[in-house]
Amino acid sequence: MQPTRRTCFANLGMGLTGVALAAMLERDSSASQQAWSPPNGQPHFAPKAKSVIWLFMNGGVSQMESFDPKPMLNKYAGKTIAETPFADSQDPKKLALERLVAPDANGNQRNQLYPLQVGFKKHGQSGIEISDWFLNLARQVDKLAIVRSMWTTDSNHGAQTQFHSGRHRNDGEFPNLGAWVHYRLGSLNDNLPQFISIGNREYWNKRDGHYLGPAHDAVPLRIDPNNPLDYSQSEREFQPVAREIGTNLLQQLHKLRSAEYPNDPAMAARIASYELAFRMQRSVPDAIDFSQETDETKSLYGFDQAHSRDFGMQLLAARRFVERGVRFVQIQHGGGGAGAWDAHGGLKANHSKNALAVDQPIGGLIHDLDRRGLLDETMVVFASEFGRTPGSQGSDGRDHHIFGFTVWMAGGGLKRGVVHGATDEIGFHAVENRHYVTDIHATILRQLGLDSRRLEVPGRKRLEIDHGKPILEILG
Protein backbone atom coordinates (compact mmCIF):
# COMPACT_ATOMS: atom_id res chain seq x y z
CA MET A 1 0.00 0.00 0.00
CA GLN A 2 1.21 3.52 -0.81
CA PRO A 3 2.32 5.49 2.26
CA THR A 4 -0.03 8.40 2.83
CA ARG A 5 0.67 11.67 4.60
CA ARG A 6 -1.29 10.33 7.53
CA THR A 7 0.52 7.00 7.92
CA CYS A 8 3.84 8.80 7.40
CA PHE A 9 3.14 11.17 10.29
CA ALA A 10 1.89 8.30 12.40
CA ASN A 11 5.09 6.36 11.79
CA LEU A 12 7.30 9.35 12.53
CA GLY A 13 5.35 10.05 15.71
CA MET A 14 5.99 6.57 17.00
CA GLY A 15 9.80 7.01 16.78
CA LEU A 16 11.73 4.84 19.23
CA THR A 17 8.68 4.16 21.34
CA GLY A 18 7.35 2.44 18.28
CA VAL A 19 10.33 0.11 18.14
CA ALA A 20 9.86 -0.96 21.77
CA LEU A 21 6.12 -1.27 21.34
CA ALA A 22 6.52 -3.34 18.20
CA ALA A 23 8.78 -5.73 20.09
CA MET A 24 6.24 -6.03 22.91
CA LEU A 25 3.39 -6.61 20.52
CA GLU A 26 5.41 -9.24 18.71
CA ARG A 27 6.01 -11.08 22.00
CA ASP A 28 2.38 -10.71 22.96
CA SER A 29 1.17 -12.08 19.68
CA SER A 30 3.50 -15.08 19.76
CA ALA A 31 2.36 -15.88 23.29
CA SER A 32 -1.28 -15.91 22.28
CA GLN A 33 -0.69 -17.53 18.90
CA GLN A 34 -1.45 -21.00 20.17
CA ALA A 35 -4.91 -20.08 21.33
CA TRP A 36 -5.78 -17.77 18.45
CA SER A 37 -6.93 -18.79 15.03
CA PRO A 38 -8.64 -16.68 12.39
CA PRO A 39 -12.44 -16.75 12.65
CA ASN A 40 -13.91 -19.74 10.84
CA GLY A 41 -17.61 -19.26 11.51
CA GLN A 42 -17.72 -22.06 14.08
CA PRO A 43 -18.30 -21.72 17.83
CA HIS A 44 -15.49 -22.77 20.16
CA PHE A 45 -17.69 -25.25 22.00
CA ALA A 46 -21.22 -26.61 21.77
CA PRO A 47 -23.61 -23.63 21.84
CA LYS A 48 -26.92 -23.44 23.70
CA ALA A 49 -28.18 -20.46 21.69
CA LYS A 50 -27.96 -19.40 18.05
CA SER A 51 -29.15 -15.81 18.01
CA VAL A 52 -29.48 -12.72 20.16
CA ILE A 53 -32.22 -10.09 20.18
CA TRP A 54 -30.73 -7.20 22.10
CA LEU A 55 -33.24 -4.58 23.31
CA PHE A 56 -31.61 -1.41 24.50
CA MET A 57 -33.63 1.37 26.11
CA ASN A 58 -31.73 4.57 25.33
CA GLY A 59 -31.45 7.02 28.20
CA GLY A 60 -31.63 4.84 31.33
CA VAL A 61 -34.62 2.97 32.79
CA SER A 62 -35.46 3.46 36.46
CA GLN A 63 -34.73 0.12 38.13
CA MET A 64 -37.11 0.95 41.01
CA GLU A 65 -40.05 1.61 38.71
CA SER A 66 -39.52 -1.43 36.50
CA PHE A 67 -37.94 -4.68 37.69
CA ASP A 68 -36.56 -3.87 41.15
CA PRO A 69 -39.33 -2.18 43.18
CA LYS A 70 -38.27 -0.54 46.45
CA PRO A 71 -41.09 0.17 48.93
CA MET A 72 -38.60 1.87 51.27
CA LEU A 73 -38.66 4.82 48.86
CA ASN A 74 -42.30 5.34 49.77
CA LYS A 75 -41.62 4.94 53.47
CA TYR A 76 -38.83 7.53 53.47
CA ALA A 77 -40.12 9.73 50.65
CA GLY A 78 -38.96 13.33 51.01
CA LYS A 79 -36.27 12.49 53.59
CA THR A 80 -32.64 13.01 52.71
CA ILE A 81 -30.65 9.79 52.47
CA ALA A 82 -28.60 10.99 55.46
CA GLU A 83 -31.76 10.99 57.58
CA THR A 84 -32.57 7.35 56.79
CA PRO A 85 -31.01 4.10 58.00
CA PHE A 86 -29.31 3.95 54.58
CA ALA A 87 -27.02 6.95 55.11
CA ASP A 88 -23.89 4.88 54.50
CA SER A 89 -24.88 4.33 50.85
CA GLN A 90 -23.34 7.77 50.25
CA ASP A 91 -20.02 6.86 51.86
CA PRO A 92 -17.48 8.36 49.40
CA LYS A 93 -15.61 5.03 49.32
CA LYS A 94 -18.71 3.36 47.95
CA LEU A 95 -19.02 6.03 45.26
CA ALA A 96 -15.43 5.78 44.08
CA LEU A 97 -16.12 3.67 41.02
CA GLU A 98 -17.54 6.63 39.11
CA ARG A 99 -15.31 7.88 36.27
CA LEU A 100 -16.43 11.29 35.16
CA VAL A 101 -15.93 12.46 31.57
CA ALA A 102 -16.73 16.09 32.33
CA PRO A 103 -18.73 17.68 35.14
CA ASP A 104 -22.28 18.19 34.05
CA ALA A 105 -25.60 19.34 35.48
CA ASN A 106 -26.66 15.70 35.22
CA GLY A 107 -25.09 12.54 36.55
CA ASN A 108 -24.95 13.90 40.11
CA GLN A 109 -25.90 12.65 43.56
CA ARG A 110 -29.54 13.32 44.44
CA ASN A 111 -30.11 13.27 48.16
CA GLN A 112 -33.82 13.51 48.74
CA LEU A 113 -35.62 10.18 48.32
CA TYR A 114 -38.32 10.19 45.68
CA PRO A 115 -41.28 7.83 46.13
CA LEU A 116 -42.18 5.14 43.61
CA GLN A 117 -44.22 6.64 40.78
CA VAL A 118 -46.05 3.41 40.06
CA GLY A 119 -47.33 0.40 41.98
CA PHE A 120 -46.00 -3.12 41.70
CA LYS A 121 -47.22 -6.69 42.21
CA LYS A 122 -45.96 -10.24 42.35
CA HIS A 123 -46.45 -12.16 39.14
CA GLY A 124 -46.38 -15.72 37.89
CA GLN A 125 -45.38 -18.89 39.67
CA SER A 126 -42.07 -17.31 40.54
CA GLY A 127 -43.79 -14.43 42.36
CA ILE A 128 -41.29 -11.92 41.03
CA GLU A 129 -42.29 -8.30 41.65
CA ILE A 130 -42.66 -6.10 38.59
CA SER A 131 -44.04 -2.58 38.26
CA ASP A 132 -47.53 -1.95 36.90
CA TRP A 133 -46.06 -0.21 33.85
CA PHE A 134 -45.00 -3.63 32.50
CA LEU A 135 -48.13 -5.74 32.94
CA ASN A 136 -47.83 -7.53 29.58
CA LEU A 137 -44.22 -8.37 30.15
CA ALA A 138 -45.14 -9.46 33.69
CA ARG A 139 -47.21 -12.30 32.18
CA GLN A 140 -43.93 -13.68 30.81
CA VAL A 141 -42.06 -13.28 34.10
CA ASP A 142 -41.64 -17.03 34.54
CA LYS A 143 -39.42 -17.01 31.46
CA LEU A 144 -37.11 -14.19 32.58
CA ALA A 145 -33.74 -14.25 34.33
CA ILE A 146 -33.55 -10.88 36.06
CA VAL A 147 -30.19 -9.52 37.20
CA ARG A 148 -30.79 -6.75 39.74
CA SER A 149 -27.17 -6.08 40.64
CA MET A 150 -25.56 -4.35 37.66
CA TRP A 151 -23.05 -1.52 37.92
CA THR A 152 -21.11 0.60 35.47
CA THR A 153 -18.71 3.55 35.75
CA ASP A 154 -19.67 6.35 33.33
CA SER A 155 -22.29 8.55 34.96
CA ASN A 156 -23.16 10.15 31.66
CA HIS A 157 -24.58 8.67 28.47
CA GLY A 158 -21.18 7.52 27.25
CA ALA A 159 -22.38 4.58 29.32
CA GLN A 160 -24.45 3.60 26.26
CA THR A 161 -21.27 2.80 24.39
CA GLN A 162 -19.75 1.33 27.55
CA PHE A 163 -22.66 -1.06 27.91
CA HIS A 164 -21.96 -2.45 24.43
CA SER A 165 -18.15 -2.43 24.39
CA GLY A 166 -17.39 -2.83 28.09
CA ARG A 167 -15.09 0.21 27.98
CA HIS A 168 -15.47 3.69 29.41
CA ARG A 169 -15.38 6.31 26.66
CA ASN A 170 -12.19 7.85 28.07
CA ASP A 171 -10.41 4.60 27.19
CA GLY A 172 -10.97 4.96 23.43
CA GLU A 173 -13.08 2.94 21.07
CA PHE A 174 -13.47 -0.81 21.26
CA PRO A 175 -15.54 -3.44 19.45
CA ASN A 176 -19.08 -3.99 20.66
CA LEU A 177 -20.51 -7.34 21.69
CA GLY A 178 -22.44 -7.77 18.44
CA ALA A 179 -19.25 -7.16 16.46
CA TRP A 180 -17.42 -9.90 18.37
CA VAL A 181 -20.25 -12.33 17.70
CA HIS A 182 -20.29 -11.35 14.03
CA TYR A 183 -16.52 -11.57 13.82
CA ARG A 184 -16.51 -15.18 14.88
CA LEU A 185 -19.86 -16.60 13.83
CA GLY A 186 -21.11 -14.54 10.92
CA SER A 187 -24.54 -15.55 9.73
CA LEU A 188 -26.61 -18.62 9.27
CA ASN A 189 -28.09 -16.94 6.22
CA ASP A 190 -26.02 -15.01 3.73
CA ASN A 191 -29.00 -13.37 2.09
CA LEU A 192 -29.42 -11.04 5.02
CA PRO A 193 -26.97 -8.89 6.96
CA GLN A 194 -25.47 -10.90 9.77
CA PHE A 195 -25.61 -8.18 12.39
CA ILE A 196 -28.54 -5.77 12.23
CA SER A 197 -29.19 -2.53 14.08
CA ILE A 198 -32.71 -1.10 14.27
CA GLY A 199 -33.76 2.17 15.86
CA ASN A 200 -31.92 5.32 16.83
CA ARG A 201 -28.47 5.47 18.25
CA GLU A 202 -27.64 9.08 17.51
CA TYR A 203 -26.08 9.72 20.90
CA TRP A 204 -23.81 6.74 21.30
CA ASN A 205 -21.02 5.66 19.03
CA LYS A 206 -22.45 4.49 15.73
CA ARG A 207 -19.69 2.00 14.98
CA ASP A 208 -19.45 -1.52 16.26
CA GLY A 209 -16.43 -3.14 14.65
CA HIS A 210 -13.71 -0.59 15.54
CA TYR A 211 -10.41 -2.50 15.45
CA LEU A 212 -12.14 -5.59 14.09
CA GLY A 213 -12.88 -3.50 10.99
CA PRO A 214 -15.89 -1.82 9.38
CA ALA A 215 -17.11 -5.15 8.01
CA HIS A 216 -18.21 -5.95 11.57
CA ASP A 217 -20.38 -2.87 12.03
CA ALA A 218 -24.08 -3.58 12.35
CA VAL A 219 -26.08 -2.94 9.19
CA PRO A 220 -28.75 -0.34 10.04
CA LEU A 221 -32.25 -1.22 8.87
CA ARG A 222 -35.44 0.77 9.09
CA ILE A 223 -38.58 -1.33 9.52
CA ASP A 224 -41.08 0.18 7.12
CA PRO A 225 -43.04 -2.37 5.07
CA ASN A 226 -43.96 0.37 2.58
CA ASN A 227 -40.32 1.16 1.92
CA PRO A 228 -38.31 -1.78 3.22
CA LEU A 229 -34.96 -0.76 1.80
CA ASP A 230 -33.74 2.55 0.39
CA TYR A 231 -32.64 2.42 -3.26
CA SER A 232 -33.76 -1.16 -3.70
CA GLN A 233 -35.09 -0.21 -7.17
CA SER A 234 -33.37 1.81 -9.85
CA GLU A 235 -34.61 5.40 -9.80
CA ARG A 236 -34.08 5.77 -13.55
CA GLU A 237 -34.89 3.37 -16.31
CA PHE A 238 -32.08 0.89 -16.71
CA GLN A 239 -32.26 -2.07 -19.09
CA PRO A 240 -31.64 -5.23 -17.01
CA VAL A 241 -29.20 -6.64 -19.55
CA ALA A 242 -27.20 -3.37 -19.60
CA ARG A 243 -27.11 -3.45 -15.82
CA GLU A 244 -25.86 -7.03 -15.85
CA ILE A 245 -22.99 -6.14 -18.19
CA GLY A 246 -22.11 -3.32 -15.77
CA THR A 247 -22.26 -5.57 -12.72
CA ASN A 248 -20.00 -8.11 -14.38
CA LEU A 249 -17.51 -5.42 -15.37
CA LEU A 250 -17.51 -4.02 -11.85
CA GLN A 251 -16.79 -7.47 -10.43
CA GLN A 252 -13.88 -7.89 -12.84
CA LEU A 253 -12.46 -4.45 -12.03
CA HIS A 254 -12.72 -5.11 -8.29
CA LYS A 255 -10.99 -8.47 -8.68
CA LEU A 256 -8.16 -6.89 -10.67
CA ARG A 257 -7.68 -4.21 -7.99
CA SER A 258 -7.89 -6.67 -5.12
CA ALA A 259 -5.08 -8.64 -6.74
CA GLU A 260 -3.09 -5.40 -6.63
CA TYR A 261 -4.00 -4.76 -2.96
CA PRO A 262 -4.30 -8.29 -1.56
CA ASN A 263 -4.16 -7.17 2.08
CA ASP A 264 -6.86 -4.56 1.93
CA PRO A 265 -9.69 -5.84 4.14
CA ALA A 266 -11.84 -2.84 3.21
CA MET A 267 -11.72 -3.88 -0.43
CA ALA A 268 -12.75 -7.42 0.43
CA ALA A 269 -15.51 -6.09 2.68
CA ARG A 270 -16.73 -3.72 -0.05
CA ILE A 271 -16.96 -6.57 -2.56
CA ALA A 272 -18.84 -8.73 -0.05
CA SER A 273 -21.12 -5.81 0.77
CA TYR A 274 -22.02 -5.37 -2.93
CA GLU A 275 -22.90 -9.00 -3.21
CA LEU A 276 -24.98 -8.86 -0.01
CA ALA A 277 -26.69 -5.64 -1.19
CA PHE A 278 -28.06 -7.34 -4.26
CA ARG A 279 -29.32 -10.35 -2.31
CA MET A 280 -30.90 -7.97 0.22
CA GLN A 281 -33.04 -6.42 -2.51
CA ARG A 282 -35.13 -9.60 -2.31
CA SER A 283 -34.51 -10.88 1.19
CA VAL A 284 -35.22 -7.73 3.23
CA PRO A 285 -38.65 -6.94 1.71
CA ASP A 286 -39.56 -10.61 2.24
CA ALA A 287 -38.37 -10.62 5.85
CA ILE A 288 -40.51 -7.63 6.73
CA ASP A 289 -43.55 -8.61 4.71
CA PHE A 290 -45.92 -8.79 7.66
CA SER A 291 -48.82 -9.85 5.44
CA GLN A 292 -47.43 -13.36 5.94
CA GLU A 293 -48.35 -13.10 9.67
CA THR A 294 -51.79 -13.66 11.23
CA ASP A 295 -53.79 -10.83 12.77
CA GLU A 296 -53.48 -12.59 16.13
CA THR A 297 -49.67 -12.43 15.91
CA LYS A 298 -49.74 -8.79 14.86
CA SER A 299 -51.95 -7.90 17.83
CA LEU A 300 -49.63 -9.82 20.09
CA TYR A 301 -46.83 -7.44 19.06
CA GLY A 302 -49.06 -4.40 19.58
CA PHE A 303 -49.72 -3.58 15.89
CA ASP A 304 -53.29 -2.49 16.56
CA GLN A 305 -52.39 0.26 18.99
CA ALA A 306 -50.72 3.43 17.78
CA HIS A 307 -48.44 3.72 20.82
CA SER A 308 -46.85 0.29 20.36
CA ARG A 309 -47.05 -0.25 16.61
CA ASP A 310 -43.60 1.03 15.63
CA PHE A 311 -41.70 -0.91 18.26
CA GLY A 312 -43.95 -3.93 17.66
CA MET A 313 -43.00 -3.96 13.98
CA GLN A 314 -39.34 -3.84 14.94
CA LEU A 315 -39.72 -6.81 17.27
CA LEU A 316 -41.75 -8.89 14.84
CA ALA A 317 -39.09 -8.11 12.23
CA ALA A 318 -36.47 -9.27 14.76
CA ARG A 319 -38.25 -12.60 15.20
CA ARG A 320 -38.46 -13.03 11.42
CA PHE A 321 -34.77 -12.16 11.04
CA VAL A 322 -33.80 -14.65 13.73
CA GLU A 323 -35.95 -17.32 12.04
CA ARG A 324 -33.98 -16.62 8.88
CA GLY A 325 -30.69 -17.14 10.68
CA VAL A 326 -29.53 -13.63 11.57
CA ARG A 327 -27.15 -13.87 14.52
CA PHE A 328 -27.48 -10.56 16.29
CA VAL A 329 -30.36 -8.10 16.10
CA GLN A 330 -29.73 -4.97 18.10
CA ILE A 331 -32.77 -2.77 18.67
CA GLN A 332 -32.55 0.65 20.25
CA HIS A 333 -35.73 2.10 21.69
CA GLY A 334 -36.26 5.80 22.14
CA GLY A 335 -34.06 8.16 20.18
CA GLY A 336 -33.74 11.88 20.50
CA GLY A 337 -31.20 13.62 22.70
CA ALA A 338 -29.54 11.22 25.05
CA GLY A 339 -32.45 8.79 24.79
CA ALA A 340 -36.18 8.76 25.43
CA TRP A 341 -35.92 7.13 28.86
CA ASP A 342 -33.68 9.89 30.25
CA ALA A 343 -36.25 11.18 32.75
CA HIS A 344 -34.47 14.02 34.56
CA GLY A 345 -37.91 15.55 35.04
CA GLY A 346 -41.46 14.28 34.70
CA LEU A 347 -40.43 10.68 35.29
CA LYS A 348 -43.98 9.44 35.66
CA ALA A 349 -45.15 10.83 32.33
CA ASN A 350 -41.91 9.80 30.64
CA HIS A 351 -41.65 6.21 31.84
CA SER A 352 -45.37 5.44 31.61
CA LYS A 353 -45.35 6.58 27.97
CA ASN A 354 -42.19 4.68 27.07
CA ALA A 355 -43.35 1.55 28.88
CA LEU A 356 -46.61 1.70 26.95
CA ALA A 357 -44.62 1.68 23.72
CA VAL A 358 -42.48 -1.36 24.59
CA ASP A 359 -44.44 -3.47 27.11
CA GLN A 360 -46.89 -5.15 24.74
CA PRO A 361 -44.34 -5.80 21.96
CA ILE A 362 -41.70 -7.28 24.31
CA GLY A 363 -44.23 -9.45 26.14
CA GLY A 364 -45.53 -10.54 22.74
CA LEU A 365 -42.06 -11.32 21.44
CA ILE A 366 -41.22 -13.60 24.35
CA HIS A 367 -44.54 -15.41 24.17
CA ASP A 368 -44.26 -15.77 20.39
CA LEU A 369 -40.67 -17.03 20.43
CA ASP A 370 -41.58 -19.54 23.11
CA ARG A 371 -44.66 -20.97 21.39
CA ARG A 372 -42.66 -21.42 18.20
CA GLY A 373 -39.92 -23.26 20.06
CA LEU A 374 -37.46 -20.46 19.25
CA LEU A 375 -36.90 -19.13 22.76
CA ASP A 376 -34.54 -21.96 23.68
CA GLU A 377 -32.14 -20.96 20.90
CA THR A 378 -32.70 -17.20 21.01
CA MET A 379 -31.49 -14.94 23.80
CA VAL A 380 -33.53 -11.84 24.45
CA VAL A 381 -31.79 -9.13 26.44
CA PHE A 382 -33.39 -6.02 27.94
CA ALA A 383 -31.02 -3.31 29.16
CA SER A 384 -30.24 0.35 29.42
CA GLU A 385 -26.94 2.12 30.04
CA PHE A 386 -27.62 2.66 33.74
CA GLY A 387 -30.49 3.03 36.20
CA ARG A 388 -31.86 6.14 37.87
CA THR A 389 -31.24 7.73 41.25
CA PRO A 390 -33.37 6.81 44.29
CA GLY A 391 -33.35 10.55 45.05
CA SER A 392 -35.26 13.14 43.07
CA GLN A 393 -33.86 15.54 40.51
CA GLY A 394 -35.89 18.74 40.45
CA SER A 395 -39.38 18.06 41.71
CA ASP A 396 -40.30 15.01 39.68
CA GLY A 397 -37.32 13.39 37.96
CA ARG A 398 -34.49 10.99 38.62
CA ASP A 399 -30.86 11.42 37.55
CA HIS A 400 -28.40 8.91 36.06
CA HIS A 401 -27.40 6.14 38.42
CA ILE A 402 -24.46 3.78 37.89
CA PHE A 403 -24.23 2.01 41.27
CA GLY A 404 -27.10 -0.40 40.89
CA PHE A 405 -29.47 -1.19 38.06
CA THR A 406 -31.31 -4.05 36.37
CA VAL A 407 -30.88 -6.04 33.18
CA TRP A 408 -32.93 -9.08 32.27
CA MET A 409 -32.42 -11.86 29.80
CA ALA A 410 -34.67 -14.63 28.55
CA GLY A 411 -34.19 -17.81 26.57
CA GLY A 412 -31.02 -19.20 25.03
CA GLY A 413 -30.72 -21.89 27.69
CA LEU A 414 -30.96 -19.58 30.70
CA LYS A 415 -33.00 -20.43 33.80
CA ARG A 416 -36.59 -19.26 33.66
CA GLY A 417 -38.29 -17.17 36.30
CA VAL A 418 -35.30 -16.31 38.46
CA VAL A 419 -33.92 -13.21 40.12
CA HIS A 420 -30.18 -12.97 40.62
CA GLY A 421 -28.37 -10.33 42.68
CA ALA A 422 -29.92 -7.49 44.65
CA THR A 423 -29.59 -3.81 45.38
CA ASP A 424 -29.90 -2.36 48.88
CA GLU A 425 -33.30 -1.37 50.24
CA ILE A 426 -33.43 1.97 48.45
CA GLY A 427 -32.10 0.64 45.15
CA PHE A 428 -28.83 2.55 45.47
CA HIS A 429 -25.97 0.04 45.44
CA ALA A 430 -25.82 -3.40 43.95
CA VAL A 431 -24.98 -5.35 47.10
CA GLU A 432 -25.41 -9.03 46.27
CA ASN A 433 -23.66 -10.78 43.36
CA ARG A 434 -22.50 -7.57 41.73
CA HIS A 435 -21.99 -7.59 37.98
CA TYR A 436 -20.21 -5.24 35.61
CA VAL A 437 -21.67 -4.93 32.10
CA THR A 438 -19.18 -7.35 30.56
CA ASP A 439 -20.63 -10.16 32.70
CA ILE A 440 -23.70 -9.86 30.48
CA HIS A 441 -21.43 -10.14 27.42
CA ALA A 442 -19.67 -13.16 28.89
CA THR A 443 -22.99 -14.87 29.65
CA ILE A 444 -24.21 -14.35 26.09
CA LEU A 445 -20.93 -15.45 24.51
CA ARG A 446 -20.92 -18.59 26.62
CA GLN A 447 -24.43 -19.52 25.49
CA LEU A 448 -23.36 -18.92 21.88
CA GLY A 449 -20.45 -21.30 22.40
CA LEU A 450 -17.76 -18.62 22.27
CA ASP A 451 -14.66 -18.07 24.36
CA SER A 452 -13.79 -14.37 24.35
CA ARG A 453 -10.15 -15.12 25.13
CA ARG A 454 -9.83 -17.20 22.00
CA LEU A 455 -11.47 -14.41 19.98
CA GLU A 456 -8.79 -11.96 21.04
CA VAL A 457 -6.84 -10.54 18.12
CA PRO A 458 -3.03 -10.75 18.34
CA GLY A 459 -1.62 -7.36 19.29
CA ARG A 460 -4.91 -6.29 20.91
CA LYS A 461 -4.59 -7.60 24.44
CA ARG A 462 -7.84 -7.22 26.36
CA LEU A 463 -8.12 -6.70 30.09
CA GLU A 464 -9.66 -9.22 32.46
CA ILE A 465 -12.61 -6.91 32.98
CA ASP A 466 -13.20 -6.71 29.22
CA HIS A 467 -13.85 -10.45 29.15
CA GLY A 468 -16.19 -10.40 32.17
CA LYS A 469 -17.44 -13.55 33.87
CA PRO A 470 -20.49 -15.55 32.82
CA ILE A 471 -23.28 -15.37 35.40
CA LEU A 472 -23.27 -19.09 36.14
CA GLU A 473 -26.17 -18.91 38.59
CA ILE A 474 -28.65 -18.08 35.84
CA LEU A 475 -27.47 -20.69 33.33
CA GLY A 476 -29.98 -23.50 32.85
Binding site: D230, S234, R236, M267, R270, M280
Partner: protein
Protein backbone atom coordinates in the same frame (compact mmCIF):
# COMPACT_ATOMS: atom_id res chain seq x y z
CA UNK B 1 -25.41 6.78 4.61
CA UNK B 2 -21.87 7.75 3.68
CA UNK B 3 -19.21 9.04 6.04
CA UNK B 4 -18.98 12.77 6.42
CA UNK B 5 -15.68 14.44 7.26
CA UNK B 6 -15.49 14.99 11.01
CA UNK B 7 -15.07 18.65 11.85
CA UNK B 8 -13.71 17.83 15.30
CA UNK B 9 -11.21 15.28 14.03
CA UNK B 10 -9.12 17.17 11.41
CA UNK B 11 -11.78 16.38 8.81
CA UNK B 12 -10.90 12.72 8.91
CA UNK B 13 -13.57 10.33 7.84
CA UNK B 14 -14.43 7.17 9.65
CA UNK B 15 -14.78 4.27 7.32
CA UNK B 16 -18.00 2.34 7.02
CA UNK B 17 -19.09 -0.35 4.64
CA UNK B 18 -22.79 -1.07 4.64
CA UNK B 19 -24.72 -2.70 1.81
CA UNK B 20 -27.05 0.28 1.45
CA UNK B 21 -24.10 2.31 0.16
CA UNK B 22 -23.84 -0.09 -2.75
CA UNK B 23 -27.56 0.24 -3.45
CA UNK B 24 -27.39 4.05 -3.36
CA UNK B 25 -24.50 4.09 -5.81
CA UNK B 26 -26.22 1.62 -8.08
CA UNK B 27 -29.79 2.82 -8.10
CA UNK B 28 -29.99 6.45 -7.06
CA UNK B 29 -31.12 9.04 -9.54
CA UNK B 30 -28.23 11.23 -8.42
CA UNK B 31 -25.56 8.75 -9.46
CA UNK B 32 -27.31 7.65 -12.65
CA UNK B 33 -27.75 11.28 -13.76
CA UNK B 34 -24.24 12.26 -12.75
CA UNK B 35 -22.79 9.32 -14.67
CA UNK B 36 -24.53 10.45 -17.82
CA UNK B 37 -23.42 14.07 -17.45
CA UNK B 38 -19.85 13.11 -16.62
CA UNK B 39 -19.59 10.77 -19.60
CA UNK B 40 -20.84 13.49 -21.96
CA UNK B 41 -18.29 15.87 -20.59
CA UNK B 42 -15.48 13.33 -20.82
CA UNK B 43 -16.34 12.58 -24.42
CA UNK B 44 -16.71 16.30 -25.25
CA UNK B 45 -13.70 17.63 -23.34
CA UNK B 46 -11.27 15.32 -24.93
CA UNK B 47 -12.76 15.27 -28.39
CA UNK B 48 -12.08 11.56 -28.52
CA UNK B 49 -15.59 10.31 -28.91
CA UNK B 50 -14.43 7.41 -31.01
CA UNK B 51 -11.25 6.27 -29.24
CA UNK B 52 -12.30 3.68 -26.65
CA UNK B 53 -8.89 3.31 -25.09
CA UNK B 54 -8.46 7.02 -24.55
CA UNK B 55 -12.00 7.41 -23.21
CA UNK B 56 -11.45 4.62 -20.69
CA UNK B 57 -8.11 6.02 -19.61
CA UNK B 58 -9.56 9.52 -19.19
CA UNK B 59 -12.54 8.19 -17.27
CA UNK B 60 -10.28 6.24 -14.89
CA UNK B 61 -8.17 9.30 -14.34
CA UNK B 62 -11.15 11.63 -13.83
CA UNK B 63 -13.37 9.37 -11.70
CA UNK B 64 -10.85 7.26 -9.80
CA UNK B 65 -7.71 9.39 -10.01
CA UNK B 66 -5.64 6.45 -11.25
CA UNK B 67 -4.56 4.94 -14.54
CA UNK B 68 -6.19 1.84 -15.92
CA UNK B 69 -3.98 -1.21 -16.24
CA UNK B 70 -3.91 -3.18 -19.48
CA UNK B 71 -6.24 -5.80 -18.02
CA UNK B 72 -8.64 -3.09 -16.84
CA UNK B 73 -8.55 -1.44 -20.26
CA UNK B 74 -9.33 -4.72 -21.99
CA UNK B 75 -12.24 -5.58 -19.67
CA UNK B 76 -13.66 -2.06 -20.04
CA UNK B 77 -13.38 -2.04 -23.82
CA UNK B 78 -15.21 -5.35 -23.99
CA UNK B 79 -18.08 -4.10 -21.85
CA UNK B 80 -18.34 -0.86 -23.87
CA UNK B 81 -18.60 -2.95 -26.98
CA UNK B 82 -21.31 -5.17 -25.50
CA UNK B 83 -23.37 -2.18 -24.40
CA UNK B 84 -23.11 -0.56 -27.81
CA UNK B 85 -24.30 -3.72 -29.51
CA UNK B 86 -27.42 -4.09 -27.37
CA UNK B 87 -30.73 -3.45 -29.16
CA UNK B 88 -31.22 0.31 -28.91
CA UNK B 89 -27.63 0.68 -27.70
CA UNK B 90 -25.44 3.63 -28.61
CA UNK B 91 -21.98 4.92 -27.86
CA UNK B 92 -23.49 7.61 -25.58
CA UNK B 93 -25.37 5.02 -23.57
CA UNK B 94 -22.37 2.72 -23.38
CA UNK B 95 -20.13 5.51 -22.11
CA UNK B 96 -22.67 6.61 -19.49
CA UNK B 97 -23.00 3.00 -18.28
CA UNK B 98 -19.23 2.78 -18.06
CA UNK B 99 -18.91 5.91 -15.91
CA UNK B 100 -21.71 4.51 -13.73
CA UNK B 101 -19.58 1.40 -13.19
CA UNK B 102 -16.58 3.50 -12.16
CA UNK B 103 -18.76 5.44 -9.72
CA UNK B 104 -19.56 2.11 -8.12
CA UNK B 105 -15.89 1.16 -7.93
CA UNK B 106 -14.38 0.72 -4.47
CA UNK B 107 -11.69 3.30 -5.30
CA UNK B 108 -14.34 5.93 -5.99
CA UNK B 109 -15.66 5.81 -2.43
CA UNK B 110 -12.47 4.91 -0.58
CA UNK B 111 -9.52 7.14 0.26
CA UNK B 112 -6.24 5.27 0.24
Amino acid sequence: MFDEALVTDCYRREQSIVPQQALALTNSKLVLTAAELASKRLAGDHGDHGDTREFVQNAFSCVLGTNASDAELAASAEALNEWQNLPGGSLDHAQAHFVWVLMNHNDFVTLR
